[in-house]
Amino acid sequence: MKNPADIWKGFKDSRLFWPLAALGIVLLFNLIFTKDFFVMEIKDGHLYGVIIDIINRGAPLMLLSIGMTLVIATKGIDISVGSVIAISGAVAASLIGGKLEYVDGVQKLVTLVPMPIAILAALFVATVLGAWNGLLVARVGIQPIVATLILLVAGRGIAQLITQGQIITIYYNPFKFIGGGYLLGFPFTMFIVAVVFAATIYLVRKTALGLFIESIGINPVASRFAGINVSKYIFSVYAFSGLCAGIAGLIVCSNVSSADGNNAGLFIELDAILAVALGGNSLDGGKFSLVGSLLGALVIQSITTTIYATGVPPEITLVVKALVVILICLLQSANFRAVVFAKWGQNRGIAHESTIAK
C-alpha cells in the first residue's frame, strides 16, 4: 500500500490531479518564459511580488467560486454574483461616505456610519439578495439561470441607483485594509479566503450538509423521498453564494477604495463558473470539490496575470485565453487523453469503438 507507485496512481486518479496539473503547467510556463515571476521581496514589511498579486487579485474570484461550487453542486447556477459584488461595494461605500476632508493639511478620517456596521450592512444586503435567488429557485421553482438572470440585470441597476451612477471614492483609510492590507507580511485577503474556505469545508465535510447538497444535486426527487428538505438547502446555498459575493464585493471595493456600480464584478460570473469547472467539478451537480474550485480560480488568475506579464497585445488576449482554456479542458478530458495518448486510457463503454477486434 505504501508503494510509491500506488501513491502516484492514487494521486493521478484523484479528482484534484488535473486541476493541479493545469496550475502547474501555467506556473511552469512562467518559470521558463517570464522573468522574475517567482521573485518575492519584502517591501514596507510585507511580501511583494507577482505571486502575491495573483493571490490578492484572485481573492474575489476564489470567494465566488466557493459559493458557486455549492450552488452548482445542487444542479443550479448563479449568474448574478457580479451584480451582487457591485451592490455590496455600493452599500458599503455609500454608508461609509465619500468625502475628502483636510484639517490642517492632514487628511481627516470621516465615516457616515461606523465601518463595522457598513460592512455588516453590505454583507446582509448581499445575503438577502442571494436568498432572493434561493426563493425564486427553491420555492417558486424557476430555472436557476433565469432566476439569477433577473438579479444580474436588476442588480447592476440597483448598484447604480445606490451610487447614482457615480464612482464613490472611499477616503476612510481603515477600509482599505480589507482589500489592500497585510497581516504578518501576507495580504489580508488571503486570510479572508482562508477563513471562508475553512468554515465552508468544515460545514460541508464535518456535518451532513455536503452529503445533502450532493444528494440533492444528483437526484432531488429521491432526496426528498429520503426525508431531506430539498428546498431549504437549495435556498441556503443561494443565500451563501450571495454572502460570498458580498465579501468579494467588499474586497473589490476596498482594493481600489471606491465603489463602481457600473463595472465592479462585470462578467466575473463567467470566470467563477469556469473556475468551478476547471476544478474538476461537474456543472450537472452532484459530487463537488472545493479545493478544486479554488485551484481553478488560481489557474484563471494566473492566466490573466501571465498574459499581462508576457505583454500579450490586448487585441489577442482573448484568443490566447480561449486557447489556454481549451487546452486545459482537453487535458482534463479522459476521453481526449485516451484518443491522444492511446495507451494511457482504457477503452470502456459506449463511446469507444476500437478494442474488440483483437
Binding site: 433565469v146 440597483i158 485565453k321 481549451i326 482537453l330 478530458s333 463511446a351
Partner: protein, 327 residues
C-alpha cells in the same frame, strides 16, 4: 379528458401567448402610438436575428445542452463578412455561403468537443465565446463598414404591407427559420431524437437512437443558426465590429426559457421561443415609450417586468398542473 390532456402539453405556450397579449394591451392603454401594427412589426424587424439564434438555442436546450458562444459568433460572422466584402472584395454570393459554413463548422467543432471529449458544454462554448470575440479583434479592433450594394439593399429594403406598415427581408428569413425548425422538431427523426436525448441520454442510447450524430449535429445546426443570425445582423448593422451582440446569449437563453423550453432538456417549442423573444421585445418597447427612466431604473424595470412575467407564468403553470391531476 383527452382534450384537456392535449392542452396540458402546451399550457406554457398558451400562457406565454396570453401574457404577451396582456403586456401589449397594457402598453396600448398607457401610451399613445403604442397600439399600431408597425410597433408590433418593429419588434420583428429589430429582433429578427435574435429569433433566428434563439431557434438554434432551442435545439440545444432541448438536448439539455447550452451554448453561450452565440453572441460572439454573430460578432465574428459580421466582422468576417465585412472583412471579406470590403478588404478582399468578394461578392455576397461567395461570402454568405462561406459564413454559413464557418458558423456550422464552429458549431461542429464545439459539438465534437462536447460529445466525444466529454467536456461540459458551458465550458466549451465559453472558450468558443472568448475565441470568436478574440478573433474579431484580431481582424480589426475598429468597426468595418459594409458598403456592398446587396447588403445595403437588404438593410434598407422595406417590404410594404397594408395599412402603411412594412417589414424587412430579415423578418421573412426569421419566419422561414421558424417554419423550418418547427418541421424539423416535429416531423423528422432527427428532431424527435433530440427530444429523446434531452429526456434521457442514456435511455436514448439504449433505445438504439443515433445519439452521437444527433448531438454533434444539433451543435452544428446551432452554429449554422448563429451564422444565419450573424448574416441577418450584418444586414441590420451594415458593419463588422468586435463589440457587436455582447451578452446576446443571455437574451437568447431567456427567450427560449420564457417560451417554455426548460434548461433541463426534453421539452421545447419553437413557437414558444418566438413569443419569448417578443415578450422581451414588448418589455423593451414599453420602457422606450415610457421614456423618462434613468439608466438604472431602466435595468430595474426590465428585470422587474421579466420577473413578474416569469413568476406569473410559473404560478399559473403550477396551478394548471395541480388541477390537471385532479381532473
Amino acid at each position: 379528458m383527452k382534450a384537456l390532456s392535449l392542452n396540458n402539453k402546451y399550457v406554457n405556450l398558451y400562457i406565454t401567448t396570453l401574457l404577451f397579449c396582456a403586456l401589449f394591451a397594457l402598453g396600448s392603454v398607457l401610451y399613445t402610438g403604442f397600439f399600431s401594427g408597425q410597433v408590433l412589426l418593429n419588434m420583428f424587424i429589430d429582433n429578427a436575428f435574435l429569433i433566428i439564434t434563439a431557434i438554434g438555442m432551442t435545439f440545444v436546450l432541448i438536448i439539455g445542452g447550452i451554448d453561450i458562444s452565440i453572441g460572439a459568433v454573430i460578432a465574428l460572422i459580421c466582422m468576417l463578412s465585412a472583412y471579406l466584402l470590403e478588404v478582399w472584395h468578394l461578392g455576397p454570393l461567395v461570402v454568405i455561403p462561406a459564413m454559413l459554413i464557418v458558423g456550422a463548422v464552429f458549431g461542429l467543432v464545439q459539438g465534437i468537443f462536447i460529445h466525444y471529449f466529454k467536456i461540459q458544454p458551458f465550458i466549451v462554448t465559453l472558450a468558443g465565446m472568448f475565441l470568436a470575440r478574440g478573433l474579431c479583434y484580431v481582424i480589426s479592433i475598429d468597426t468595418v463598414l459594409i458598403t456592398d450594394p446587396f447588403y445595403q439593399f437588404m438593410a434598407t429594403y422595406r417590404i410594404p404591407l397594408p395599412f402603411n406598415s412594412f417589414i424587412s427581408v430579415s423578418v421573412l428569413i426569421a419566419l422561414a427559420a421558424i417554419a423550418a425548425a418547427y418541421y424539423i422538431l416535429n416531423y423528422t427523426r432527427f428532431g424527435r431524437t433530440a427530444y429523446a436525448i434531452g429526456g434521457n441520454e442514456q435511455s436514448a442510447l439504449l433505445m438504439g437512437l443515433p445519439v452521437a450524430r444527433t448531438k454533434v449535429l444539433i451543435y452544428t445546426l446551432n452554429g449554422f443558426c448563429s451564422a444565419l443570425a450573424g448574416i441577418v445582423f450584418s444586414f441590420y448593422m451594415l458593419s463588422g465590429y468586435g463589440l457587436h451582440a455582447v451578452g446576446l446569449e443571455m437574451d437568447a437563453i431567456a427567450s427560449v426559457v420564457i417560451g417554455g423550453t426548460p434548461l433541463t432538456g426534453g421539452i421545447g417549442f419553437v413557437t414558444g421561443t418566438l413569443f419569448g423573444v417578443l415578450i422581451q421585445g414588448v418589455i423593451q418597447t414599453l420602457i422606450m415609450f415610457q421614456g423618462t427612466l434613468s439608466s438604472w431604473w431602466t435595468k430595474i424595470a426590465i428585470a422587474f417586468l421579466l420577473c413578474v412575467f416569469i413568476v406569473l407564468q410559473r404560478l399559473i403553470v403550477a396551478r394548471k398542473e395541480s388541477r390537471k391531476s385532479l381532473a
